[in-house]
């Protein structure tokens, strides 16, 4: 693996009394595609600017391959940035924008020319060398910014929401290209986004941030399937989340089968967990809409580990490959259920508005989050 590892150690940055970053520590591995994910204003750009050298932390350090880079100015760090608004030089052509870092280093003309053309080829801009940035489309601008950031052969590439200004379709394509590019050059990518699906689809690991704090660092799978806090559960994808109290916890196979009392559902449900929990403990319970099964008839056999509720379809939302149902359970609580349309033959009769339905899920598909007072 090429590239450097990046260690952010106890970094805090305050603007007046407002803490933009609060004791942030992250370890990013060599060559990793690492995402910083969080809602707008959570401090992602602030952290990126500190790594790039445009801002310095009040306390804490940033290590690049083990070396503290806080004292270095931005031009002396082997880090390059693709800016949120691209920051292309409007007075220079595409070619000269990409050549800019090389001209600063007085690279001989022939060598410079070859290299600039190589990098513009890499991002498929061979046909637009002479255009000024104002003549380019959003996607093309973004590619110029990437070529320009890569031509210095940095060890770490920082990308600040590089796709946020583009439309959904183009975003998907460019995301895939970005992923290919990462595989091709193999340096460390630190990718900032507030779009969870973007982060989930390309990252090796993700750090989820909120209000200047890192809530969880993990693989997309870990982040999605075992969110560390309520916030992570809600922010990553959709979910059903309820406060709950542990009533019983007993060994079950390799895990523990936990029974939770959920006041909102006025019921007890079962969920498996790796940790043994104490009776009376306050927790949150979450189950993703796609893990819920919706049927028009009562399932004939209900296993010991199945949670079953009945209710009425309040609102079906059809979106092609799937339908989302808002189901009002008998006790009045609304849950979200998602059904994938893979194959209509297996699905049975359509479920429609006001239909009486049954909602069920297995204990293994639910998840206990944020174990308060451990």
């Amino acid at each position: 693996m090429k590239g450097f590892d990046v260690t952010v150690k106890d970094v805090s940055r305050a603007y007046g009394a407002f803490k933009a970053l609060d004791n942030v520590s992250i370890e990013i591995k060599k060559g990793e595609f690492f995402s910083l994910l969080g809602p707008s204003g959570c401090g992602k750009t602030t952290l990126l600017r500190i790594i790039a050298g445009f801002d310095s932390p009040d306390v804490g350090s940033v290590l690049l391959d083990g070396r503290n880079i806080i004292p270095l100015p931005p031009d002396k760090r082997q880090v390059n940035t693709v800016f949120q608004n691209y920051a292309l030089f409007p007075h220079l052509s595409v070619y000269e924008n990409v050549a800019f870092p090389l001209r600063l280093k007085h690279i001989p003309e022939t060598k410079l020319d070859t290299k600039v053309r190589d990098y513009l080829h890499l991002v498929q801009l061979d046909a637009h060398l002479d255009k000024k940035p104002s003549m380019l489309s959003g996607g093309q601008k973004q590619r110029v910014a990437i070529a320009r950031a890569l031509i210095n052969e940095p060890n770490v590439l920082l990308l600040d929401e590089p796709l946020s200004a583009l439309d959904a379709k183009l975003r998907q394509n460019l995301l895939v290209e970005l992923d290919h590019l990462h595989d091709q050059i193999g340096i460390t990518f630190i990718y900032v986004t507030h779009d969870q699906s973007e982060a989930l689809s390309v990252s090796d690991r993700i750090a989820v941030m909120n209000q200047g704090v890192v809530l969880q660092v993990g693989s997309p799978y870990e982040i999605y399937e075992s969110p560390a806090t309520d916030f992570v559960a809600r922010f990553i994808g959709e979910t059903n989340l309820f406060p709950a109290v542990v009533t019983k916890c007993e060994a079950y196979d390799k895990y523990f089968m936990t029974t939770l009392e959920i006041p909102e559902l006025q019921a007890e449900i079962k969920v498996t967990d790796y940790d043994e929990l104490k009776q009376g403990q306050q927790v949150s319970f979450t189950v993703r809409p796609e893990k819920l099964k919706i049927t028009g008839h009562k399932p004939s056999r209900v296993g010991k580990d199945i949670n079953l509720f009945s209710g009425v379809v309040e609102e079906p939302i059809y979106s092609g490959f799937q339908t989302k149902y808002y189901v009002r359970l008998d006790n009045g609580t609304v849950v979200k259920v998602q059904m994938q349309h893979t194959n209509y033959m297996d699905e049975g009769p359509d479920i429609e508005w006001k239909d009486q339905v049954y909602v069920s899920w297995s204990a293994e598909d639910g998840y206990i989050v944020e174990v308060i007072d451990k």
Binding site: P73, D75, N80, T81, F83, F89, H91, E96, D130
Partner: protein, 299 residues
């Protein structure tokens, strides 16, 4: 057939432009034509002109004394403009980046509320041999004898810079204010030092502001007459002074007109040259990679 809407739009446009056109004709074009005319007429005995065509004003102009003044005027205007721009650039930059823009703008504009002659007299009070500056330097013991700070070329340049620096700061401030400072960060990120980022990214992007500032300072300085008269010495005479002398003392109106025409002509040529130079520059930076294309043979 012309779209009736379009022809109506055009007629409206003419209507809107009429007051402006009238204004320009009355107060710019007509006086200019009078000056052109006078410069080709014979000098009247007590001022004014006699209606007789002659080139004598132009012949008198090519006199080594006058030429010296013309060259000096060009030189003073040039050097004052260069220094003004160099001082105004960091000022405009600091103002654009400051949180208190209105405050700074006010500070730049407030001096205009005082008559410019009074401000020149203030400078006399500062620079003269018993002025504030000399007395202050004596008081702190840096000098014993007064320095010759006034009635020389240095005083003229200093006061001219003082008078016209707001005209440079304002256009520079407005263009720098529109500049995206993120571009400087991008330049730093790509390996440029601070001065490199300023030189290679800021300056080319605020070129229009620099050109405006140069025009706004060079042209009035080129025609200055009060400042050299009041704080200059014998060798500080500028074309403006010659014109005033020709009108009020020597009463040679045709010669005054000829000099006025020269000022107008040189200034216009200067402006046109700068504008085309900037247009050429931007055209060149656009075609530069194409030259490389021809050599490289790719694309």
């Amino acid at each position: 057939m012309m779209d009736p809407r379009e022809s109506r739009g055009r007629r409206l446009g003419v209507t809107y432009a009429a007051p402006m056109g009238l204004w320009l004709t009355l107060f710019f074009l007509v006086p200019l034509l009078i000056i052109v005319m006078y410069s080709f007429l014979k000098k009247g005995l007590y001022g004014g002109v006699e209606w007789e065509f002659t080139l004598s004003a132009y012949q008198q102009m090519f006199n080594p004394n006058f030429m010296r003044v013309l060259l000096r005027t060009l030189w003073v205007a040039f050097i004052s403009t260069v220094i003004t721009i160099f001082l105004a650039l960091p000022c405009g930059y600091a103002m654009a980046r400051s949180k208190h823009q209105t405050l700074w703008l006010g500070m730049v504009i407030i001096p205009f509320w005082t008559n410019s002659l009074i401000r020149v007299y203030a400078w006399i009070a500062i620079l003269s041999s018993e002025g504030f500056l000399n007395e202050a330097l004596k008081a702190i013991g840096l000098i014993k004898e007064s320095l010759p700070l006034i009635y020389n070329q240095g005083a003229v340049v200093t006061v001219l810079i003082y008078m016209y620096i707001p005209f440079a700061i304002l256009p520079l401030f407005t263009t720098i204010d529109k500049f995206d400072f993120g571009l400087l960060e991008a330049a730093r990120d790509l390996g440029a030092t601070k001065p490199q980022a300023i030189l290679k990214v800021l300056i080319p992007n605020i070129r229009s502001g620099i050109i405006t500032a140069v025009i706004f300072t060079f042209i009035p300085i080129f025609g200055a007459y009060a400042v050299p008269l009041l704080v200059g010495g014998k060798d500080s005479y500028m074309i403006g002074n010659i014109i005033v002398d020709q009108v009020t003392k020597t009463r040679n109106w045709p010669l005054a007109s000829a000099f006025s025409l020269i000022i107008t002509l040189l200034s216009t040529l200067g402006v046109v040259w700068m504008m085309t130079a900037s247009a050429r520059e931007s055209a060149r930076s656009k075609t530069a990679p194409q030259v490389v294309d021809a050599n490289g043979g790719v694309v």
